[in-house]
Amino acid sequence: MSTLSEESRQIVASLAHRVGPNADIARIAQAIVSILQDMGAALTPIIGQQGVVALYRRSLHICVSTHPRLAGTYDSVQASLDLIALKFILVEQNETDALFFGDVLLTTFYELLTTLIGPSLTARLLRGVWEPSLSDTLSQETSP
C-alpha cells in the first residue's frame, strides 16, 4: 500500500533525524528507545498499558520471524516492554544492524496498529511522535 510506504519513509526519516549526523551506537539505541517511548506515551492513555505491551510484543515477534537474522539477538527481549533491556542489547550491535532493527521494528509496530485500527486513526494517534522531528525542531523533543 502506498500509504504504508509513505509512513515507513516517515519512520525511517524520523529515526535518522533523532540519531543525528554522528551515528554512534549509543545515539542509535537512544533514538530507537525514545521513539518507542513516545509511541507508548501516545497510545497508553487510549488503549492502556497492557494494550501497548501487547502491540510491542507482537511487533517483536513479527520482526524476528520475518528477519531470521534478528532472531538470535532479539529473542530474549520479547518477554515484556523492557526498553532498558532492549537498549542494553542494541548498544552491543554494530550501527548498521541496530539501525536496520530500529527501522524494521518501528515500521512493523506502525503497520500492526494500522491493520487493527486503520491508517487514518493510526496516523492521527501517532502524529505527535513524528511531527516534532520532521519539523526540524530538535530541541522540542530532547527534553525528557
Binding site: 487510549i46 487493527l116 487514518s120 486513526l121
Partner: protein, 486 residues
Amino acid sequence: MSTKVTINRLATGVPGLDEVLGGGLPEFSFNLIAGPPGCGKTTLAHQMMFALATPERPALFFTVLGEPPLKMLRYQQQFDFFDSEAINQSIRYINLADDTLAGNLDEVLRRIVSEVEAHSPSLVFVDSFRSVVLASQTQDNPNNNLPQFVQQLGMLMTTWQATTFLIGEYFTETDTNPIFTVADGLIWLRQSVERNSMVRKMEIMKMRGQPTLPGLHTFRIATSGIKVFAPAPLNPVEAPQKSPIKRLKMGVPQLDEMLGGGLPQGYSLLVAGPSGSGKSILASTFLAEGARNGETGVIAVFEQRPNHSQNTTLAGLIQSGQVSLVDSRAPDLSIDEIVQLLLSEISRLKATRVVIDSLSGFELALAPTFREDFRESLSRMVSALTGAGVSVLMTSELEDRYTDLRFSPYGTAFLTDAIIVQRYIEVQSRLLRIMAVVKVRASAHSDELRLYRIDNNGLQIGEMLPDQEGLLGGRPTRRRVGKEEA
C-alpha cells in the same frame, strides 16, 4: 416565570432519538445506557459523541474493563459517523483499566475528576460502568460504597457542566440499583428474538423533566449508525374536511361514477379481491391517473420480486420519477420503519397518492413479533398516512368465499374510508369478474354490481347483470322474469 432555569436540549445526532427522548437530550444530565451485550450501547454512545463533541467542548470517553479499546476503535470506525480527525481534538479516549483493576472506587473517581478538570468536557462517557461496579465488588473493601460513588460522580459531572453517560450491561430493569435512582435518564436497549427474526428495540425508561415517547421503539444499526424509528406524530386535530370535497379520479371513468364522483381526497381505500382479479392493475391505474394530472405518488410493494410483477405503466412512472417505489426487502420490518419510509418519500415527492400492494405481503414483511398486533399496526399506518393528507389505496388478497361477503382477512375493513370489492362469478361456463363499491364514508355511491374485464388498456367496467341473481354466491342463476311479471 423567566427566572426559572432553562434546560437546553442537545440534538443527539441519532435519527429519531430526539423525538423519542421528547425533544433531545437535557444538557448536564446524568444518564445510563443499559442493555444486554451486543444491543448497540457503545455504538449509540459513539454516535452521540461524534455528533456533539467540539474542540472547545470536547468529549471524554473513559474505557474501563470490558471491550478492549483497540477493538472498540477498530469496530467503531466502521461507522460513517466515526471521524479519525476528531480523536485527540474534540474526542479523547482515556483508559482506566489499571485503576479499575485495583478495585478502588475512590481512585477511579479521582482519575475521572482530574481528567474532567483538565479538559472541561461537555460530554463524559464511562464504558463499561458495569465493570467498575463488578471490580469494586470483588474487593473486600468496606470503603467501596457504590451508591456513594454514583451519587458523587453524578453530582461532580453536573457541577462540571458535563452531560454524562454511563454504559453498562444490565439484564433486568427491575434490579434495585443505585444507578437507576441517581440517573436522570435511563435508555434501555433490547434485542427481541422470535424464531429467526431479531428486532432491536429501545425504551426511554426515564428522562427527567421531559415527556418521552413511552414504550418500545424499534431501531436499526447500519453503517450510517443507529436509526430509531419514532412513531409518526399524529395530528391531534384533523383538519376539517373542506366542502365541497375534492375528489380524485381513479383512472376508470365508470368507477369514478360508482364512487360518487371519484375518491374523496385524503381517504383510504381498500380494494379487496381474489388473486388475479386486477387489484394491482387498479392500483397502478390510480397512480397513472394522478401522474396524468401532474400529481406524484408513492407505491410500497411487498413482493419477493417487485420488479418482476410490475406492469409497464407502473414501471414507466417509476422510471420517470413520478412515482417512488418503496421496496424494503430488509428483514424484520416494523410498522414505524415502513411508515417512516413512506412519509419520507411522500414529503420528498410532495406526493398525494399512495398505494400499498398488498396488505398480505406487508404482513409477511413484518417481523413475527409485530404480526400479533397487525390490526393495530395497520390502523396506525392508515392514520399516519391519511394524517399526512395523502389518499391511500391498499390492496388486500381475499380468498373468494361465496357463503359470506368479506372484505379483508384481517377484520380491518372498518379502518378504511372506502371499500371496493372484486369477485369471480360463473356465468355460462365462463369465469367473469364483478366489482362493487361497498362503502364511501360520508358520500353517496353506487350500489351496483358491475361486470368488468381486464384488457391491454386496463380495467374496463361493463354493465350490470340484471337478469342474473345470486351473484355474490358465485354461481348466479337466471332470474325468472315471467314469475315477477305475472
